[in-house]
Symmetry: C2
Subunit: 442 residues, 2 copies
């Protein structure tokens, strides 16, 4: 990586909330009333070029202020740090953040402190990519296998994958990186849409949204399930009829069930031929997901989870236990770019496709960088892979994601696509922003 | 439970820190410089009797303010709640706290938000026990099996243990509760000491502390390992020689190793005949602990973990996978009394002894209530069971735990033994308290 001059001298953390609970967008079996929000951090430098690193962690309303408090607790680790020291060893700064001997007690490596670490780590990468004047995915895809491996904390992973094994796997894909880059820039990365089937939508609305999505070129559709079986069966059947036999239908239960109930419920929905059941039970239940996966294997239904996957140790086990058929990383639940890369390496090692969690606010912007990098440098494959897409709140970003014919178009602005427009940030500050003063509900 | 009048009207959360990093007490392979701390909450009522519910979550310095922020986010769930509604259904209020649809995103059920929930749930139980004028263990031990089961959130547990199975197991012990109560009050509950072997202690200090502990009646001793194998072997051998062949020696690695390294390291220490290896690797690694347990089984060395066990779903799996031989619940890492009871039920179901994590500040005071309740009503056994004891900071509590002849004496003051002396609370407030103004290091 390049050695830019300058030191991080400014650190500002914000509580930003969007009053999405005023509509039913984003409602599912566990989250009836989310206000899509972000703990947002801005890093400034003494370089005088005005470039800033922006990072956020997606939250859903109340409690965002707790993540902001955690961000402020991490400030001493970055203010005063030279950009060169980050560029020289991004894995070292990341490990300092996750291994602070006192803050670690609050996780370790999970929950609020990990969410805050994600926003901060991602802000560092955003700053660095802006300095290189490249999109984040390209910065990552140009790293050497050794540099990629050095980003990762292999502690607790070595019974599944060593740094040396990971490096060798990355080595094998280096000669073909350029071809895949050209191809994915030309064609885009496959997306699936979750916009059609939130709980609470009428059948009419579902039908209209399905037709619109088909017209836009989508071939993969996800709906929410888990509150009421007859209702789920009716809606899943409706969507299957609308999208036809060859399109992919995914079901998302948002952790609604116990293990036995999950198996029974999904079997009852199997007539609609879903590709996967997502979050059938507790995100922490590796053995439970494995049992569900074994029961659904004969039906050709895969198990997907990960948006609440706390850290790389959980993903390691989900993969070791063959508990998931689709690995759904989250760019802010994991501790940012470095830990996302760890899970990409693990998933590739086990041959499990990564289909990132997106939606909310900023997640679509973020995860396209992970999937592009995964395709070019880590897995080398698009098979059974797609990125979630939800058409929410993109208008607040300077470099919003772009969907063309059902694919994410590769972003080319410098950075990680996560910088919010100044006026959006200002108006949605909680509780002082204009949107909240005029009658928000959070 | 009794229906007391009154409503919770006051909620105060504090950041309390003790400058323990000024000495090396409490140092281990992962925590070189803890400042034992607490996010502390006080609940007041409109009853006019001056009774308060006190609760705390143990932390180790930096970041305590984040847990206080999380406590404040939970305030709306308790202020305005009637004591009668808690007493009527303590499981319902607990579930409201852990299932807030927006705050849940920050865990779910893990990390900062869960630590804060623990302090608050425990404060509610402290208040209730004070109203009954009984120690918490006695309040719990007088509940009916159905009331105990109703405290617990069985969601995600039913593939291992249903409410009905748990109730039947509790039923069987009801007739003999009184006999066990009389016995444990007369004799106390076995303790083990961790005071002898913190990293950084000289051999001379270890020898002196071992002799003192033996003289005090201790027969179980734990030392910290994991930084340097030759040093560990020397210290473990020294302690084994000092305590004799029949005393129990436990080793604690505080998450220092990867799986293969843990197996290799502990095999090298097996000549000192340890009873268990504690926290050999990541607290999240169920499959890793299972592999370590299988490897050490032939050597007669058990695996212990749990002080960083995020929630009941993790413990369920550790038990299902036979990954632990000793279950180390933490009274504040789990979401307080209700989730502690869930894990006690699971451990009894799998026949695994519970040996709670203690030390720090307040944990010894807390966990004695869990173990007494476990013996009287849940497991009915003392076999292979003991409570950790560390002689730190007890002087700050109104009702400090008491060790007699190597056993915890059953506490009899009303409540959960966790109320700090007013002057201790005042002097250790961070950063405004006298102790910190005069030159603390946190």
């Amino acid at each position: 990586m390049q050695e830019f001059s300058g030191t991080i001298t400014e650190f500002r953390a914000f509580d930003v909330r969007f009053p999405t609970s005023r509509s039913l967008d984003g409602s599912d079996a566990m989250n009836p009333d989310p206000d899509y929000s972000a703990a947002y951090v801005v890093l400034g430098t003494d370089r005088g070029d005005g470039l800033e690193g922006h990072g956020l962690t997606f939250t859903i309303g109340r409690g965002t202020e707790i993540v902001v408090a955690a961000l402020n607790a991490l400030e001493p680790y970055v203010v005063g740090t030279s950009i060169a020291s980050f560029a020289e060893a991004p894995g070292e700064l990341y490990k300092k953040l996750t291994w602070d001997s006192q803050l670690r007690w609050l996780g370790p490596e999970k929950g609020v402190i990990h969410l805050a670490t994600a926003a901060l780590v991602n802000a560092l990468w955003d700053l660095y990519a802006k300095l290189e004047k490249k999109p984040l995915w390209q910065v990552l895809a140009e790293l050497s296998p050794q540099q990629i491996v050095d980003m990762v904390d292999f502690r607790y992973l070595t019974d599944a994958l060593s740094a040396e094994e990971a490096r060798r796997a990355l080595d094998r894909l280096v000669p073909t990186r350029a071809a895949r880059t050209a191809e994915i820039v030309a064609n885009g990365y496959p997306a699936y849409t979750t916009s059609v089937g939130w709980l609470g939508y009428s059948d009419e609305k579902i039908s209209r949204l399905c037709r619109e999505s088909l017209a836009q070129g989508f071939t993969r559709f996800k709906i929410k399930v888990g509150l009421d079986l007859p209702d789920d069966l009716r809606r899943a059947t409706l969507v299957r009829e609308l999208i036809g036999p060859n399109a992919a239908l995914m079901l998302d239960a948002n952790q609604r069930w116990d293990v036995a109930q999950a198996i029974e419920w999904v079997k009852a929905l199997s007539v609609t031929r879903p590709l996967w059941i997502e979050e059938p039970t507790s995100p922490d239940d590796i053995l439970g997901h494995a049992r569900i996966a074994r029961a659904l294997e004969p039906l050709g239904i895969g198990v997907a989870t990960g948006e609440h996957g706390a850290n790389r140790v959980l993903f390691k086990q989900l993969l070791q236990a063959r508990a998931i058929d689709f690995c759904q990383i989250d760019f802010c639940r994991l501790a940012g770019v470095n830990e996302v890369v760890a899970v990409l390496l693990l998933a590739a090692h086990y041959g499990v496709p990564v289909c990132p969690h997106a939606g909310g606010v900023g997640l679509c912007e973020y995860v396209q960088h992970a999937s592009l990098f995964d395709y070019i440098a880590v897995s080398g494959s698009l098979e059974r892979r797609s990125i979630e897409f939800v058409d929410h709140l993109h208008e607040h970003f300077l470099d919003p994601c772009v969907i063309e014919n059902g694919n994410y178009r590769a972003p080319f602005a410098a950075g990680s696509s996560i910088q919010m427009k100044a006026e959006s940030l200002r108006d949605h500050l909680y509780p002082s922003g204009a949107v909240w003063k005029s009658g928000g509900t959070a």
